[in-house]
């Protein structure tokens, strides 16, 4: 719902169209007053001049000063008042008097429904009016106020009472989820969606098409929260449902496949992503949807590039570019996005000049966007370009672009994680430029946003680690240690201790403990890392030697020696090559022997 009325619409900017006569017939429509002893004889205010002024104090409660409001309060018990008030709210919005009055009507409508509700009987009307109320709040941009309303709304229906109740409950959960996602609390929104899905599955069965829709939506939400495992699961389910319901190569299926490809790509499973994309592309070709085919071609190109099959990638991009240019014009942002991809590709293949020129072309399009381009699109494009500048070692340029992109996104609801991502990148840029104070500020705000969204993904751990590094540069060792500890916890949980990122955090943390004087802790961590490397990961990594040296220094300082015997590859080979006798002899002094042999 919030999509409908712009959030930026100033609440008081109701166009002065009070005198427009059109609400009049609409109201007379449901009220054949003359014929029935209608409830509407004492009906609440019609948009009379006194009421139609937007009230200066936008209180939730109707103002008791107004006489007809008192009347309305008295008559709230009337069972027909609720529907009428809701209709009034609708009319208010329709007549352009601004959503504030509509809000007032909706509040009263829900009150009326509440009073009229029979005890013990959950009133669907009440739920509905609460949903409407929440939607109006959302459209006003007051998401925080919508949350309690929806919280109440989802308590009203009882799922066991049949399809209607299930529907209302589902609807409420989904709306609540949307509201949460608008205020950036991704984890809670996903919880709500999951709940909604559960209700829907109970009501409609496992294989209903609508369940498929919800699954897909939920999968998308999971992807946004970077929780790819669950997303993949849901996406598979969606695929199954669509497979059961529609013929192969349907549009739904190809949409699912594209989502699946996105998930696979993000997980780094490029081959299966490619497979999914090719299947989707075939479906789109069969349906003759050229633009979609072009969009898929771009994705295919991305994957070819990730697989280092550059020639094929260029081919895909060019194909897409031709179609997009023909169908959308030379200056459409989608064309620009292909430019960006091409620039990236040329950068990777070392053709810097081509890459630069493509970047500039794309930038030109984004700077003067054709009408109909959303700010999100532009900022997305700018961040993509900045990524190329980042890899071209032009952090200033990248920083400028990122700042521009940030400005475009600021104040938009539901963009928190995107903004956090941009801020984290700006932080890294600042680090590269040596402006650590600014870097730390950027990271701090990014981390706050990610924390609010309940982010638990490895990405969050990585950002924490980076922030810790910035803190170290500022000699805020204590703070850095805390950050490293949190990063370690998250990364251990999400990636396991053997992941490259986790190992990096371990080594940072060890060095920090060392600097804090907690030598024992540092030694413990380093020993753990070395053990991991020796036993699981292999010691071919250049980091291994470095860590080993650090450990030996620490041990020397602490006056100890590493009691663990080194199980390096060298050792194993040596032990195999030498006779058992030497081994037996040397067991006690293994550590010393291993190097001599």
């Amino acid at each position: 719902m919030p999509g409908l009325v712009s959030v930026k619409t100033p609440p008081d900017s109701a166009p002065p169209r009070i005198a427009v006569p059109e609400p009049q017939p609409q109201q007379s429509e449901p009220a054949p007053v003359s014929r029935t002893p209608s409830p509407h004889t004492n009906k609440p205010p019609s948009p009379s001049p006194s009421r139609s002024k937007p009230s200066p104090a936008r209180s939730k409660k109707p103002q008791p000063a107004s006489p007809d409001t008192i009347l309305a309060d008295a008559s709230l018990d009337n069972p027909d008042l609720g529907p009428f008030l809701l209709k009034l709210a609708r009319d208010t919005i329709a007549s352009g008097e601004g959503p504030n009055k509509a809000l007032e009507y909706a509040v009263r409508a829900s009150k009326s429904f509440e009073r009229c509700a029979v005890d013990g009987e959950p009133s669907l009307d009440l739920a509905m009016s609460l949903h409407v109320l929440a939607a109006i709040y959302c459209s006003l941009g007051r998401f925080e106020e919508a949350v309690p309303v929806l919280d109440r709304a989802i308590l009203v229906p009882e799922v066991g009472r049949g399809a209607d109740h299930a529907l209302a409950a589902f609807s409420g959960h989904m709306q609540l989820g949307d509201t949460y996602s608008m205020i950036g609390q991704v984890d809670r929104s996903i919880e709500c969606y999951e709940e909604g899905l559960k209700i829907q599955i109970e009501a409609l069965g496992d294989t209903d098409l609508r369940v498929g829709e919800t699954c897909r939506y939920l999968a998308e939400a999971h992807v946004q929260a970077m929780q790819f495992e669950r997303a993949e699961e849901l996406c598979k389910k969606t695929l199954e449902i669509h497979h059961a319901h529609s013929e192969p190569a349907s549009l739904e299926e190809s949409a699912d496949r594209r989502l699946m490809a996105l998930i696979c790509e993000s997980k780094g499973d490029y081959e299966s992503a490619l497979e999914q994309l090719v299947l989707a592309s075939m479906a789109m070709i069969a349906n003759g949807l050229e633009n979609e085919v072009a969009a898929i071609d771009v994705s295919i190109g991305n994957i070819y590039m990730s697989l280092c099959r550059f020639d094929e990638a260029v081919f895909s991009y060019q194909k897409a570019l031709t179609v997009l240019k023909a169908s959308r014009g030379d200056n459409h942002p989608s064309v620009a996005s292909v430019f960006v991809r091409l620039a990236d590709l040329y950068h990777r293949t070392g053709k810097l000049r081509e890459s630069k020129s493509y970047c500039e072309n794309a930038l030109r399009i984004y700077v003067k966007p054709v009408p109909g381009t959303t700010a999100e699109e532009i900022s997305g494009g700018l961040t993509e370009i900045s990524a190329i500048y980042e890899s071209m070692d032009e952090p200033e340029e990248a920083l400028k672009l990122l700042q521009k992109a940030m400005k475009l996104l600021e104040g938009k609801p539901g963009q928190q994680s995107t903004i956090a991502g941009i801020e984290a990148r700006m932080g890294v840029m600042f680090c590269m430029l040596g402006r650590y104070e600014e870097a730390r500020n950027c990271f701090e705000s990014a981390v706050t946003k990610l924390r609010a969204s309940g982010e638990k993904s490895p990405f969050f751990g990585v950002v924490l680690n980076q922030m810790g590094l910035a803190c170290v540069q500022l000699f805020k060792i204590d703070e850095a240690a805390e950050l490293f500890e949190e990063a370690r916890r998250i990364l251990e949980q999400e990636c396991g201790p053997c992941h490259q990122d986790s190992l990096g955090v371990y080594s940072n943390l060890a060095a920090t403990y060392d600097a804090m004087g907690r030598v024992e802790d540092a030694i413990e961590i380093l020993e753990y890392v070395l053990k991991l490397r020796e036993e699981k990961l292999g010691i071919a990594n250049p980091d291994f030697a470095d860590e080993k040296r650090r450990l030996s220094e620490l041990l020397k300082e602490a006056g100890r020696t590493r009691d663990r015997k080194a199980k390096s590859l060298e050792n194993l080979i040596d032990s195999n090559s030498t006779s058992k006798k030497t081994r037996k002899e040397g067991t006690k002094r293994w550590g010393a022997l291993s190097f001599k042999l």
Partner: protein, 690 residues
């Protein structure tokens, strides 16, 4: 306190400060500033406090490590004494630019230096003996006492005792001073950072023993206390030194390649993050647009099913006349259309939002997401049995109920519609929208549909068998007239939109759509005489409109528009009239309703047609078995009314192009001849020439 004079420009040193003042850390964090008595030195870089010691009852609770490089030093030379802007307990200074000092050696030296016993004795010796302590290292130690005002110039009169603990303060005497309170020792830190320092070795020559201490006259307890004290200081110093070295190691790690790799990794992660976010968003927007079209179909199908169901249900028990049933059907159809239009509104809102580069947040509960949420609620409301029944047959017996249900269905279902309406109204402010003829009452009186709907309204009571409900119906239709006025525009927009998302080959940028329909409408105002012109001067546009015309061509024919409207005009009429159709349907009620319901099939059929079909007027290929005059004219490329000499001329031209002698076909030539004959009125279509 003093710095050795050999600490010259460019040399590095660390300063370890023990203090009981909490503000020390603050001062140091804000930048350590050294006031120098004799010399000015600037010190570059600063390190933060690194820890606390937990010496019970000690007033010394913080030790700070500061360090840096001496950037500039005055020329006087000689030992430097530092004046700190705060009170300190102890300094421990290490200048770091001396290499080669082994750890063990250093430690032992520190130990020695800190152990009072050895010191006691050796302090009384000369410099020489000092050198002996540090025999191997050859780095003398510098010791001094710092007092609370902490500005002490050598030689130092041993006046006061350093306040370490309260207990020890009692033991203060002039004759005694703790020797090792400040230690300036040149050490090497065996770390890579050392390589950063200039490799010049600093030989600290000036070793001053500021006080001559002796234990004479001290009690054993005092001596013990002193020993303990010094031992503790030694411990602290070691710990601090270790921390310092750790810090150096940390620095080296931070500047190493591992961290660089981590930074790039972070970058990559964040790039992935933003790419995934933007892809999901664009995907949702796209799905939204796709769903729009799909949903329209779905809704229509749904409504159709509902109606057939209804029809079957009520067939026997209904006491209504056929007209009534049909009227019900019509009203239901109207409701469906309305619902459909709600989506169209939502959609047109979305387009407008895009135009003004507002943010679009595709959400599940978004009204323009047809799968759930509002449209779902709406469908739910529409599908609730009690309600639709109330809509259909109960409304005759129970007006109250119908009112109720109507208002209820309105309330939930149409609120988004009204949002859309609101937005449409607010479109006025946007520059693009201002040229749209979309406002109610702005242009609609001049469109042909208005009179038609008026007629419909007039006719409707007559068509309805129940005269008593006349006024009611009248208001109803008035309402719908009013609503259709603004609906018209958005339907025009949305039908174009439709083909965009279904064909998904929008040849025209989306922002063009409203203006296009506007143009179409303005052309419509002078329909009859401009037919030819429209056809001629805007072929690409008409082609476009063709695509945007989803319904069957059967429908507009019912419309009492100007005769022989050519197809592009029909399209335009269609786009304008589609909203009014139910009212036009007042004339041909059932037909309109059914046409509306089957328009989807027609749309599908239309989609399946080959693209050439759009030029209906042109000859499609193949000859008719009997040549007509029209065919003949087509063959010759003239009009049917062309004068004879022109026909001859055209015949010659075509014949030259197709002459058998020049490689043309005999059959074609014969056809061309036949066409000429036909046009000249000589034959009456003899069938084939063969």
């Amino acid at each position: 306190m003093f710095l050795p004079s050999a600490l010259d420009n460019g040399s590095y040193f660390f300063l370890l400060i023990f203090t009981q003042h909490s503000f020390l850390s603050r001062v140091i964090n804000n930048g350590l500033y050294f006031c120098i008595d004799h010399d000015a030195i600037n010190i570059e870089g600063r390190w933060s406090p690194i820890g606390c010691c937990s010496y019970p009852s000690s007033s010394c609770n913080t030790f700070c490590l500061v360090g840096g490089k001496i950037v500039r030093r005055g020329e006087r030379g000689g030992p430097i004494s530092l004046k700190l802007p705060f009170e300190i307990c102890h300094f421990w200074i290490s200048s770091r630019n001396v290499k080669e000092m082994g750890k063990k050696g250093w430690f032992s030296s520190v130990k020695k230096a800190l152990s009072p016993d050895s010191k006691e004795k050796k302090e009384q010796r000369s410099d020489k003996s000092k050198k002996k302590w540090f025999g191997k290292q050859k780095y003398p130690e510098f010791e001094s006492t710092s007092y609370q005002p902490s500005t002490i110039l050598p030689p130092l009169p041993p006046r006061e005792e350093v306040k370490l603990t309260n207990a020890e303060n009692e033991q203060n005497s002039d004759a005694y001073s703790v020797p090792v309170t400040t230690t300036v020792s040149t050490t090497a830190v065996a770390e890579p950072v050392v390589s950063l320092a200039p490799p010049t070795q600093v030989a600290v020559e000036v070793v001053r023993l500021p006080t001559i201490t002796h234990y004479a006259g001290k009690s054993r307890e005092e001596v013990a206390a002193i020993k303990i004290q010094t031992a503790f200081r030694g411990y602290l110093a070691r710990r601090a030194l270790r921390a310092l070295r750790g810090l150096v190691r940390l620095k080296s790690l931070i500047e190493g390649s591992v961290v660089k790799r981590q930074a790039t990794n972070t970058l990559r992660c964040m790039q992935t993050l933003s790419r995934v976010q933007s892809q999901i968003r664009s995907r949702r927007i796209r799905m939204l647009e796709e769903n729009q079209a799909l949903q329209r179909q779905l809704l229509l199908k749904h409504a159709k099913e509902l109606e057939t169901l209804r029809l079957g249900d009520e067939w026997d028990d209904s006491i209504q006349s056929k007209e009534q049933v049909e009227a019900n059907l019509l009203s239901k159809h109207e409701a469906t259309m309305r619902r459909e239009r709600a989506l169209a509104y939502a959609f047109s809102h979305q387009k407008n939002g895009k135009n003004t580069t507002k943010s679009v947040n595709p959400m599940f509960m978004d009204p323009s997401n047809p799968t759930w949420g509002w449209s779902w609620l709406e469908r739910w409301m529409a599908a609730r049995p009690w309600e639709s029944r109330g809509m259909t047959d109960k409304d005759m017996q129970d007006d109250h109920a119908s009112v109720k249900s109507a208002s209820r269905s309105m309330s939930a279902g149409e609120i988004n519609k009204s949002y859309a309406h609101y937005l449409l109204n607010s479109d006025k402010q946007s520059p693009i929208a201002s040229e749209k003829p979309s406002h109610p009452g702005f242009r609609s009186p001049s469109t042909p549909s208005r009179p038609a709907s008026k007629v419909a309204r007039k006719l409707k009571p007559a068509a309805s068998p129940r005269g008593s409900r006349g006024p009611d119906d009248d208001t109803k239709s008035m309402v719908s007239v009013q609503s259709t006025q603004f609906r018209r525009h958005s339907i025009a927009g949305s039908s174009v939109r439709d083909d965009e998302s279904l064909d998904s080959s929008p040849a025209v940028p989306s922002y063009m759509v409203p203006t296009k329909s506007a143009r179409a409408k303005s052309r419509l105002q002078s329909p009859a005489e401009k037919n030819g012109i429209t056809e001629k001067d805007s072929p690409p546009e008409s082609a476009k409109k063709r695509l945007s015309f989803p319904a069957s061509p059967a429908r507009p024919r019912r419309h009492s528009g100007p005769p022989r409207v050519d197809s592009s005009i029909i399209t335009e009429n269609k786009t304008t009239n589609i909203g009014v159709t139910p009212l036009v349907g007042g004339i041909a009620v059932a037909a309109a309703a059914y046409a509306g319901r089957y328009s989807i099939q027609a749309w599908q059929a239309f989609k399946a047609r080959p693209p050439t079909a759009r030029l209906q007027k042109f000859y499609e290929g193949g000859f008719q078995s009997t040549m007509t005059k029209r065919e003949a004219a087509l063959i010759l490329g003239v009009r049917e009314t062309t004068p004879k000499d022109k026909i001859r001329e055209a015949h010659r031209r075509v014949m030259v192009a197709n002459h058998p002698d020049a490689g043309g076909s005999h059959y074609l030539a014969s056809k061309i001849n036949e066409a000429k004959e036909m046009m000249l009125g000589r034959t009456k279509g003899t069938g084939s020439a063969f």
